[in-house]
Symmetry: D2
Subunit: 380 residues, 4 copies
């Protein structure tokens, strides 16, 4: 009501187009924001579907190519929810046009791509952010607060996994809608860029920089029909990847991701062990944070399951009453809210620069998978 508008142009109408649109729609209803998001236009090649999407979410207009979207004067922010191979060009063009840019993860297909994207937004001086949404699951945010205030003390161990099982069927094609994640040219990599990137972003946020890694990658199904060409073609992505890492703070880590772990749909798990205590979380029960506090009386020590639904938990005073949980989509709502709040104060993370550091790690992981050597995981 009288607030300045934040006029949004969206690229993409898939799964992520939906989560972002929901985020911008819901954020102002639950959080007090300095600007009012306005869904101006959505862009996608399939005009019919773009129009249906626009109608559903309340976008006022539709564009058929992203260049037109970026060129519009009535848009402040370009939000990129398109496949990975489009991130680089759109982000740079948007920055050069003076737009704020939000981008789905991973930022680039390679660290070289994302380095150029970072340069573009920094040169343009535009607000920017990458949608590593799991930082804003309230349980994960609480973990960050607890670690930062020293509840765990010195950190010894970090471990993370992201397990799925949706590509076990050998007759699943690669490429095409919903399946571009299997096409290495579009996706850049397999589980490493898609899933481990999430694990790495959270890990470096919680536990600092990663020094070096040694990795193992595997492609279980070597050939798949390509839905665009109709031919059986080699599969270029990694179906599974595990790596060992040493953090700058001296702690040790294991990371693993696969799409061949039967029974797990989106099982992102993390655990961190410190001298005073430990924390564990998983995405399948995202509303809980497990905490072991060694400093309480010995005989009553135990892993405690914190039900993250109280008003004193991060973000939760904006939602319901104690005991009543929120879901996955709300992490995007929190991120949209934080981005908008950051426009008037300290910029919200992760920025493009933060996400580039994640790309440096995924590059090192993929390289180590080829060389069998320990590889440095930063460019410093």
């Amino acid at each position: 009501m009288g607030k300045q508008k934040l006029r949004i142009g969206m690229v993409g109408y898939g799964f992520m187009g939906r989560t972002h649109s929901n985020a911008f729609t819901q954020a102002p209803k639950y959080f007090d924001l300095p600007r009012e998001p306005e869904l101006v236009a959505v862009c996608a090649r399939n005009r019919e579907r773009a129009e249906a999407f626009a109608s559903n979410w309340g976008y006022q207009d539709v564009e058929s190519d992203w260049q037109s979207l970026v060129a519009r004067d009535d848009i402040d922010l370009i939000d990129i929810a398109a496949p990975n191979d489009m991130h680089h060009d759109i982000a740079i063009a948007a920055a050069q046009a003076g737009k704020m840019v939000m981008c789905e993860k991973p930022l680039g297909r390679t660290a070289a791509e994302s380095a150029e994207m970072v340069a573009a937004v920094e040169t343009a001086g535009v607000a920017n952010m990458v949608w590593y949404n799991y930082r804003r699951i309230p349980a994960v945010t609480l973990a960050k607060q607890m670690i930062d205030r020293g509840d765990l003390g010195r950190i010894y161990h970090y471990r993370a996994k992201f397990l799925q099982d949706w590509t076990i069927a050998t007759d699943l094609p690669q490429g095409g809608e919903g399946l571009w994640r299997l096409d290495v040219n579009v996706a850049g990599s397999g589980v490493t860029g898609d899933l481990l990137a999430h694990c790495i972003d959270t890990a470096m946020w919680l536990n600092g920089g990663i020094d070096s890694v040694t990795a193992m990658t595997e492609t279980f199904v070597k050939e798949r029909a390509h839905s665009l060409t109709g031919k059986v073609e080699p599969v270029g992505i990694d179906d599974a990847c595990a790596f060992l890492a040493r953090f700058d703070n001296g702690s040790l880590a294991t990371f693993e991701s696969t799409r061949y772990a039967r029974g797990h749909k989106a099982l992102y798990t993390l655990e961190i062990n410190g001298e005073h205590g430990s924390l564990a979380w998983d995405l399948h029960d995202l509303h809980r944070l497990d905490y072991f506090d060694h400093r309480v009386e010995g005989e009553t020590r135990g892993w405690r399951s914190i039900h993250i639904t109280d008003g004193e938990h991060p973000y939760m005073d904006s939602w319901w009453v104690p005991g009543l949980s929120i879901g996955y989509a709300e992490s995007f709502v929190h991120q949209a809210a934080d981005f908008i709040r950051g426009l008037e104060g300290e910029a919200a993370a992760p920025t493009f620069a933060d996400a580039h550091r994640t790309d440096l790690v995924t590059d090192a992981v993929l390289k180590s998978g080829r060389t069998g050597q320990w590889e440095p995981a930063s460019d410093s």
Copy 2:
């Protein structure tokens, strides 16, 4: 989209006003509905807060008294999210004005009240529904489908609890905003109408009618300051209530609710045991349904935790991808969607008539708490 509008007038802007407004806002984005909800006006005595609420949720107008709201020609549906003592009069007036009526639970403070409300909507022939939202948590809906198709066979046992801990402090006042649930004149009863009503609604939906009950009620804190009068006054509600029940199908049940169970915020749990298997669910992990299937091979039998996030689970094909959960608020979205879909086909339940049957049980429970006798739980 040229769809017919469903023009809504809302009474109340509290916790339930928010969940209902969210439901009507989100439902058309995730479900294909025959009519388009339109938030026409919200009514509440505090005009300033009503206007803020209207602004936040997109209501076009504000009314200061419900009589004016009911009298408007541009409203199709009156949704009652006000305290219990207002349900009866508003619902009857709305029905008499030819409006559809949705009402928060419990329908009446007593079965006598709700009998009159049922008569009003049935005489008027208007669509009606009561917001027993837990039926539409997808895990609970799946339980219903499994029971109906015979997965459990003959039922032997049902048990439900709804445990909270928010009224243990003796200096918590009764009455006033957010605390009217402690004032018997407004609420009608304590945990019996507030929490056990939910348990009873689900139980009769899953397991059929309740024949008779024997109950125990308790008020642990006998006097509390009243926030409206400022005086210490006797507490008239039940702080805790437990009852035994016999269902019409011969199964036995235990029910319990309290606001004095330290560590539980909104722990609604249910379990049902049949000859072939059992099901269990709880609101603190609402995205899971536990199932024991006795018919599988003996040595691998076990309680299985079904993670209710797959497209084949009820309502879930409208949301995200496997593994990613929804929260509490979505149960209201589902209910709003079902109500609107029911306008063009079979009316969605629970209707006022269904909710009246729940009130008959809560009346019997409260009566048994006084008499110490088994009491019949229906009027048949």
Copy 3:
């Protein structure tokens, strides 16, 4: 090692004969005891099986009738692990012969029986104990210590269940070995004396006396073949029983037991809610105690799962190292050890007098199941 012997005569070689024999064999290996148990003789009608049992466990001798066992001069303690209908006569004869007496639970088939047994041991002045072994699961013992030192504060609620599923098959006969629990003449009652008696014993130990109860009992399968007569005969036991109770300290309780809860084998669960915290335990994960401590910092509060395997936990310094669990049978080992230690100091509980109080409650429960009224649960 020159210690005084504790010469034991055992009646019964079934499931409980085995757990008791194991207890007396293991106790001196893990606990420092003032007397050395010596397995002198086992008595059972089937001589061949009694001899095999004696050989297996190291009993020096076999008796065919309990009168002969009780008459022996070389026995200090008669341990009754025979069906319920034999408890009364053997215990009284043993006491009159000046023997110590240990007896399986329930002490009597009725409180009238157990009253006479109490009188006998008290008149004779002999040591006596009843095998309510669950008190000595270390997690339950720790719960007792925590409650006694005030960790929970004022108690509001207690709830216990004992769920099984082994008698759902209608072709299961009643009577005979292993099945005498279905024969009311032998067992005295069904789940009430067999399973709820355990729940009641623990409950009164943890939470004090029970004032009054109202109950519901059911026999789902009304007739079963009797394995001794070969005829189909009415079933006299209760297959399921639930009751509400008020404790002397003002707290409210629910109890339930059944043998028709598919998926549960021996699921004894208990929970107690107090003003400062709550405790929960179940027999299927007997090595864990769940604890909610409201007094810790709000945002990190949660139910904590205490893994009861540390040396500081009750009894555990006698077993292995942290993290390594013990099982069901060890609860009997602890009880045997405590009984023997109690011979030189304060007598260990539960005594016959304690167990008689449990029989008063089960009598009241069964009576209420018939009358539909609240019944007093003690004779005071």
Copy 4:
């Protein structure tokens, strides 16, 4: 009774001396064995404690040096429960004396040591076994049966961890009783030989041979007082170790162990993912096996927690009744029983030759920790 005796000489009276003695004592009471274990003599340098140990467990005699024990004619089996640096010499001498040999794990401090031990028992033709007891936790045994019959189909992933937290305190000395595991000269290595050896033994039993590994090791506390010399000395063991592995069957694995994971006492966890399903187990809840069966109806699929207490589960028909669990120590009882049964039929595993293959893997892991390279994990 009339059975041939199996006359046992035990070396060591510590934690493992107790578990083995318990095993030989309990095994004949619960399993029908072709030979009767007889505890002939225990050997240890501290005569007073050896005598107390002998008295407690029923050993008839005590020896002060193992050479004397091995030389006795009245002993059939030498069981080595002494620290790792004694395994090699005792085992070879025992084999050369024609005794059967059982040995605690790891078999050797290095694969070179264990190769000589294998040669000795094979040359002598004596029965031999290594106490990798976790194979005989019933849940793990059931996992083996399920994998062998194809319940999981092609295997994609294996992961195991063994997490402890008992050496975080920097003032814990190395060496001496109970602490020899911190002295590299005695132990051979740290967590790799002590804990990962267990994980590797189970893994190769369940999933076949390991082809190659890449590892990371760390010693967090670099110096500790040595309890024997009284001086601060460098710590030579690995406090933590993680490695990646490729199995011969093409599956990928991650392994990790540490003594710096706060909140975990003996958390051995394993998980295996195959095309049809997955299995998971952990030592903190050793009586449960988690199983995901992809072949059941989609909407009711879920991870199922099998409570391993039924008579149809491995070893469980010898213990109690359904629902009642056994503990850690029973895994040794099963192993003793299987060893003795194997004397009359097929020899029970793991033999010395099996355990040597585990030592080859731990050697490769430790080597990779130094080289940073992938190392072959077998000598073939």
